[in-house]
């Protein structure tokens, strides 16, 4: 195929450019999230993340210090301070009236009503003076136009991890995921071996059932199982969700592993049988070690699936601090903190970080698993 492309450099260019466009389209949304999550929260909501590496000009409304902090110098009552508070920036214009918020240059003195005067310097320092005592408890409004250097910070992360409960949810997700990934593997491996290499009546029907169950929508199971759990007394808790994920993961696990195990060379198994090994020994000594790639594939599927699941967690786990998983927390935040992008972006990134690491480090097994048949759709 290289030969075709090699002859035609225009085509090579076209292919390269199309792939670049595709890759950009597919990565920009995630990249935007990542960049936004480390931006200062005021900058995040006022300018697009793609401008985050350059200085930004913003129109802001700040307030002077409250009247309680006024001092008296000569005949004037004075309020002093800095509009930037703890940040840095440069004032390019200011004003005192919302009708003309950029009327004055930094360093100018603005005449306000009743003889009040306002001066704002380029570094943000302001002096508000008045012949009569200041009365506003919340301070007087100051309109500024400022240029701020880009600020990158990990504050958003520390906030979501410790104050917003994402840290706790992270642990809850781990608690759900680890057992729900490991336990189905053994159960499925034995069943897969039986379906692949053991002779018994009804084998093909069992296999057909597994394949049929692969696509059964989870939605079917929710209500009956919820009722069953209530009747049995499992209620909402980790035991219930571990078992549920195990049950729902089994069809795919059995199917993937059976495909792999059935493809192992017959001679290996036959010769072990001739040597007098029973199926249990064959499975433990020969099949399990040989099936490692397939086991790894399924483990990754199941891990990603359980980690990313929202539906089963919402139904079978409670909504309390001890049980709310990350996906559930994100969903809650979308409702209650819909506008707080600094919290949403950082939280989302915390939740997708682990699956992304697993994805990039174990992609080989994931692809192999996908290719060996089907995938679970949830």
């Amino acid at each position: 195929m290289d030969s075709i492309v090699g002859k035609n450099s225009a085509l090579t260019w076209a292919v390269n450019i199309s792939v670049v466009v595709l890759v950009l389209l597919w990565t920009i949304p995630t990249f935007g999230l990542l960049v936004s999550s480390i931006r200062d929260k005021d900058q995040l909501v006022s300018t697009g993340w793609w401008t985050s590496f350059s200085s930004v000009e913003r129109n802001l409304i700040r307030r002077s210090a409250p009247a309680s902090e006024q001092t008296k110098a000569d005949d004037l009552y004075v309020l002093k301070g800095n509009v930037f508070a703890d940040k840095t920036g440069e004032i390019t214009a200011f004003g005192w009236n919302s009708k003309d918020p950029t009327a004055f240059k930094p360093g100018d003195t603005a005449q306000m009503r009743k003889g009040k005067m306002l001066q704002v310097n380029a570094d943000g320092a302001y002096v508000l003076s008045s012949p009569t005592p200041h009365t506003r408890k919340k301070g007087t409004r100051i309109f500024i136009t400022s240029v701020e250097a880009p600020i990158f910070t990990l504050d958003n992360y520390s906030e979501v991890l410790f104050a917003e409960g994402i840290g706790k949810s992270f642990l809850n997700t781990m608690t759900v995921t680890i057992p729900a990934t490991i336990i189905p593997i053994l159960i499925a491996a034995f069943a897969a071996y039986a379906l692949a290499w053991m002779e018994f009546p009804g084998r093909s029907i069992m296999l057909a059932m597994v394949v049929g169950l692969l696509v059964v929508p989870l939605q079917m199971s929710l209500i009956p199982l919820l009722r069953l759990y209530t009747d049995v007394g499992i209620g909402k808790g980790y035991l219930g969700i571990w078992l549920a994920h195990t049950g729902f993961g089994l069809p795919l696990a059995i199917y993937l592993l059976r495909n792999y195990i059935a493809g192992l060379p017959r001679e290996v198994i036959e010769s072990a049988r001739v040597d007098g090994a029973n199926d249990f020994l064959i499975f433990v000594k020969i099949i399990l070690p040989l099936s490692f790639p397939a086991l790894a594939s399924f483990a990754i599927f199941q891990f990603l699936w359980v980690w990313n699941d929202l539906l089963i967690a919402t139904v079978f786990l409670g909504n309390n601090e001890e049980q709310l998983v990350m996906t559930g927390r994100l969903r809650e935040m979308l409702g209650s903190r819909g506008g707080n992008w600094e919290i949403l972006t950082a939280s989302a990134f915390v939740s997708i970080f682990v699956p992304l690491m697993v994805f990039f480090s174990l992609q080989k097994y994931l692809v192999r698993g996908l290719l060996s048949g089907s995938v679970k759709g949830g």
């Binding site: 034995f190 394949v211 009956p224 571990w242 996906t327 979308l334 939280s347």
Partner: protein, 329 residues
């Protein structure tokens, strides 16, 4: 931390439990039917007949409880009232077919069903065909495949940020609206536009599923025998002709697999709709509507009926899969 320990403890207990069961049951089997002694041949036959069921026992129990029983129970529930106790005949079904919101969900699901598999397969095929021809193809593939690892809810946040809308006067921080403004158009509240909002939600699923389609189709492309391609080139076919006339016909089987897999996924789409619109502005889908009736409507009967509709829609694929399996064997 404590609950992590409990989780690890569960892993240990669970795994040990499984091991104990499998080792123990096989040991008992060998003990009851020893393979040495007078009845050795008979015993071997007997244990060979029982052992498969020992191997499959836990799987059969779990599959029955978690998948088979619920299907039967859902059918039963669909003939019962909100609490699932009183029999009400086909009332749930008559309600369902007269319900405007159900109709909306159903039609939306049909739209999803057409657009998402088609678009994912198309982009996946395009990505597969293009990345196979360039030196950095594997990196490109990895990046396009990446969204597969992201949860639907995470993806929803990513895209909600892309679609973010703020009033006309403010600077847009959503990249889509920023582009609109840049090109002189009006910014839009994308996910609140009836009818069209569904498509903006579909984009999220397409974004996630394209990588899957690409990986499978790329393997299929590589599996095409070189000779057929070489023969076509010798006959003077250009690259596009080679792709459409030689490669595509050999890939229809794989395309069908990709298409049906995504179809199944689409029928169950839930997280995205719930996170983005929760079914408002005419974007409801079956899975979310079912969830609505389960948790907000507290009507198990109606909810189970909606779940059955999803099940019925999945059935053809199920039958097709099982038939394929029979043909393989």
């Amino acid at each position: 931390m404590e609950q992590m320990l409990i989780a690890l403890f569960t892993v240990v207990v669970g795994v040990l439990g499984c091991i104990t069961y499998f080792v123990g049951s096989n040991f008992i089997l060998d003990f009851i039917f020893p393979t040495t002694g007078s009845n050795a041949t008979k015993n071997i036959q007997k244990s060979a007949a029982i052992r498969p069921w020992l191997f499959m026992g836990p799987a059969i129990i779990l599959l029955t409880v978690y998948l088979v029983y619920p299907v039967i129970n859902s059918v039963w529930l669909s003939f019962h009232g909100p609490s699932g106790k009183e029999f009400i005949g086909i009332d749930n079904y008559t309600w369902l077919f007269g319900d405007a919101k159900f109709l909306e969900s159903f039609l939306n699901n049909m739209m999803w069903l057409i657009v998402v598999p088609a678009a994912s397969t198309f982009f996946g095929l395009m990505a597969a065909a293009l990345t196979d021809r360039i030196s950095w193809g594997n990196i490109a593939k990895s990046l396009i495949f990446m969204p597969m690892a992201i949860s639907f809810i995470g993806a929803s946040i990513i895209w909600k940020f892309v679609y973010d809308y703020r009033g006309d006067s403010a600077d847009q921080i959503g990249i889509l609206n920023a582009l609109m403004v840049h090109f002189g158009a009006e910014p839009q509240a994308w996910i609140a536009m009836p009818f069209w909002n569904s498509f903006f939600l579909m984009i999220i699923l397409i974004w996630i599923q394209t990588g899957f389609a690409m990986v499978i189709l790329s393997a299929a492309l590589r599996g095409i025998p070189e000779e057929t391609i070489e023969a076509a080139i010798l006959d003077g076919a250009n690259p596009l002709q080679v792709f459409l006339k030689i490669k595509m016909p050999q890939m229809w089987g794989t395309v069908a697999v990709v298409w049906t897999t995504i179809t199944i996924l689409v029928l169950k789409v839930f997280d995205i709709v719930m996170a983005m619109t929760n079914g408002q502005w005419g974007s409801q889908v079956l899975a979310n509507y079912m969830f609505d009736w389960m948790f907000r409507g507290h009507d198990f009967g109606r909810s189970a009926t909606i779940a059955l509709v999803i099940m019925v829609l999945v059935l053809p694929v199920m039958v097709w899969n099982v038939r394929n399996l029979k043909n393989e064997n």
